[in-house]
């Protein structure tokens, strides 16, 4: 039995990349605005994860501090974004992101 593999920074970065990819694909292919918002959050948190991992590896607290800022901004963004989505769905129930093309040039 080999010794339990010790998670290295690479693991976390790979996980972050995978999460980021899932988020990106979600934003691009899903049409439900709520799901798209969640995917954006996923991408943000993937970035946060890479920040924390690298911060730990380098022994620099700056990365973790940045994460707090990102989380605060993300929280604010969720408030605004959810507000907009709720307003849209009230006017047009079952609207998809593709239906919301009033600003088409």
């Amino acid at each position: 039995m080999t010794a339990a593999a010790v998670p290295t920074t690479t693991w976390y970065l790979v996980l972050a990349a995978v999460l980021f990819g899932i988020g990106t694909v979600g934003v691009l292919v899903r049409r439900n605005p709520l799901i798209m918002l969640m995917c954006v959050e996923l991408m943000l948190n993937a970035v946060n994860l890479s920040f924390v991992a690298l911060s730990h590896q380098m022994g620099d607290i700056g990365g973790q501090t940045t994460v707090f800022f990102v989380m605060v901004v993300a929280a604010a963004e969720v408030v605004v974004g959810l507000g907009i989505i709720v307003a849209i769905l009230r006017r047009k129930p079952n609207a998809t992101a593709d239906d919301l093309a009033e600003l088409k040039g």
Binding site: T24, M36, A97, L100, A101, L103, K104, G105
Partner: protein, 628 residues
């Protein structure tokens, strides 16, 4: 007392504002009395300031009254301030004095006009602008007044704008004046560039250290402005047509005050003119004397009573520029004052004739009015003797002063001036004979009309006669302000000396005076022989009646090649300039039309574009930058 100078323009301004607000309610004739009162009050204030100034020693006779800072922009600081010195107060004295008399006269002349109060509104606005012009301490205030009098001139020439000729004459005056204003503005710009200030004290103070070419440029561009305003060749065209306005306007604006603004400006910046190259004053003297002679020849063949006087005004203004060009600024101002007296008198006299002949202006339909209008005739004759240069009337002294200065400059100028004096005496005598002597030619004229029945011209109301009498007295004794006998009788010269300097001359005066008198008498005698005794046929060739076809030539040029040229410029503007602008707009619109499809409105497309962009940026960083 000197600090009350703001009252001088403020009083006509108050008159203007009051008539603007209550003019209709005041009506005929109260609005006229109000305007006259304001102008007279300004005259009284001016007299007060004059005596205050007189009581000071001559080197202290300069006072700047600053009202407020008008244009503070960077290094350009222009105040609305007034310069009180002998020159400006002299101008104010006759502007307000003659102005008040003409206001009074206009009450009678304009009586019954439907726009009576509006006329006095304009008249007071004119007085205000003219006083700003002469009192201004810097070129910008003068320019404000300069444009103001131009506007009032336009409004008053076309006062009876129902007549197409009056409306056209107004436009002609305005446009011709704009040509000159261009010169004034350039002179201002040059002066500011050279000295960093627009104040006359600053500019004149810097004149001695100024580069000669700069001084020449300022003087000549100011002269272009003066040529436009004072109706000299080649921009005199508007003044004869300006006679379409009511006669008090002709007397006030187009004889006594506004048209002398150009002469005033040249005197105001005389130190700059003195610092200029010698060809600048030479040019001014030549244009002056040529205009004087040119206009006098035209006046010989005119039949309209006012047009004779209009050309005569152009001619007399030419004399003033001859004096300016000869360096005799005081002589120019002296002639300006006496001219204001006798020319206003002649215009008002002609106005009285026109008024009582029911707007007949053709002298061929007048004659023998002497008995019917004794006061008008007597005063007109005084004006005639004054302008003809018969001693001891005012015109003799001032004209003699100018001719003497011209002789010091060049005998040719003097000779041309003398010929002009001969013609002046000739055509003015012709006018007096045609209007007041000979046989009455108005009976048959009005029988043709048939409307007036037993029409007979009669004397004007007293309110019109008072100004005539006052001006006649001034035309007789006006010369006393500057008698050329010795230093104490040359009052005007010593009064203006701090501003204008003295024109040194050691030419003996008496022979010239005798020659001038002889010439004047010769002109009068010739005219009497031709028009009264009918010894010879009148010489009134067609080309003189038409003003040497100058007007027709300008109209022909502007109507033919000029119009074609302007049409070509308009075509260039419409097609090339506008075409370039429209072309750019067209290209932008076409491009935008294509580009706007990029804005699909589809959020996921935008997200994909951002994603692709991020990937490309990363690729660039990794591959291109990373490989270094």
């Amino acid at each position: 007392m000197l600090d009350l100078v703001w009252l001088i323009p403020a009083l006509p301004l108050a008159g203007f504002a009051l008539i603007l607000l209550f003019g209709r309610r005041l009506g005929d004739p109260k609005a006229g009395y109000l305007a006259t009162l304001m102008c007279s009050a300004a005259f009284v204030v001016t007299v007060g300031i004059y005596f205050d100034l007189l009581s000071k020693p001559s080197e202290e006779r300069q006072h700047v009254y600053r009202l407020f800072s008008w244009v503070p922009v960077g290094s350009l600081k222009v105040d609305l301030s007034f310069l009180v010195d002998p020159l400006s107060i002299t101008m104010c004295l006759f502007v307000t004095g003659v102005g008040a008399l003409i206001h009074l006269y206009a009450i009678g002349y304009m009586h019954g006009d439907p726009r009576f109060s509006k006329f006095f509104l304009y008249l007071n606005l004119f007085a205000l602008s003219m006083l700003l012009l002469v009192l201004g301490e810097n070129m910008l205030v003068t320019f404000l007044g300069w444009e103001g009098v131009g506007t009032c001139s336009y409004l008053l020439i076309s006062f009876w704008h129902e007549r197409a000729t009056a409306a056209t004459a107004g436009k002609k005056a305005f446009i011709t004046n704009r040509v000159g204003d261009w010169g004034f503005m350039l002179a201002m710009f040059f002066a500011f560039q050279a000295t960093g200030t627009l104040s006359y004290i600053g500019i004149n103070g810097a004149a001695s250290t100024m580069a000669q070419t700069t001084a020449t440029a300022i003087a000549l561009f100011a002269f272009i402005g003066a040529v436009g305003k004072s109706a000299q060749l080649p921009l005199y065209l508007w003044l004869p047509d300006a006679m379409e306005g009511p006669t008090p306007v002709s007397a006030l604006i187009h004889a006594a005050t506004m048209v002398t603004a150009g002469v005033f400006l040249m005197c105001r910046i005389s130190p700059v003119l003195n610092a200029a190259s010698s060809y600048a004053p030479n040019l001014i003297a030549i244009i002056g004397v040529v205009t004087a002679l040119f206009a006098a020849t035209i006046a010989v063949a005119q039949n309209d009573i006012k047009r004779v006087l209009a050309y005569s005004t152009v001619s007399q203004l030419g004399y003033m520029f001859l004096a300016v060009g000869s360096g005799a600024y005081t002589a120019a101002i002296f002639h300006m004052i006496t001219h204001a007296f006798f020319k206003a008198l002649l215009f008002l006299g002609s106005g009285a004739v026109i008024h009582n002949m029911h707007h007949e202006q053709d002298m061929r339909r007048m004659g023998a009015l002497r008995k019917l209008m004794p006061v008008t005739a007597a005063t007109f004759i005084v004006g005639w003797l004054a302008i003809a240069g018969v001693p001891p009337f005012a015109g003799f002294w001032s004209k003699d002063d100018i001719l003497l200065a011209a002789y010091d400059k060049s005998p040719v100028l003097w000779a041309l001036g003398l010929i002009t004096a001969l013609l002046t005496a000739y055509y003015m005598t012709r006018q007096v004979i045609m209007v007041f002597y000979g046989e009455a030619r108005w009976h048959d004229a009005h029988e043709e009309h048939g409307a007036h029945g037993d029409f007979e011209p009669h004397e004007s109301p007293t309110i019109m006669l008072i100004p005539l009498v006052v001006l006649a007295v001034l035309s007789v004794i006006g010369g006393v302000i500057n008698l050329p006998f010795n230093a104490t009788t040359e009052r005007l010269t010593s009064w203006l000396e701090p501003v204008l300097g003295v024109h040194e001359s050691d030419t003996a005066k008496l022979p010239f005076a005798l020659i001038a008198v002889a010439i004047a008498l010769l002109g009068i005698a010739a005219s009497i022989m031709i028009y009264s005794k009918h010894k010879a046929k009148p010489v009134e060739p067609e080309f003189l009646a038409e003003g040497w076809y100058y007007d027709a030539a300008v109209s022909g040029f502007m109507g033919g090649p000029g119009r074609a040229g302007f049409n070509a410029i308009a075509w260039f503007d419409a097609n090339i300039v506008d075409g370039a602008v429209n072309g750019i707009a067209h290209v932008v619109r076409g491009t935008a039309q294509r580009l706007r499809t990029v804005q699909s409105g589809n959020v996921r497309n935008y997200a994909a574009a951002i994603g692709v962009g991020v990937v490309l940026l990363l690729a660039w960083f990794v591959i291109v930058r990373g490989s270094r």
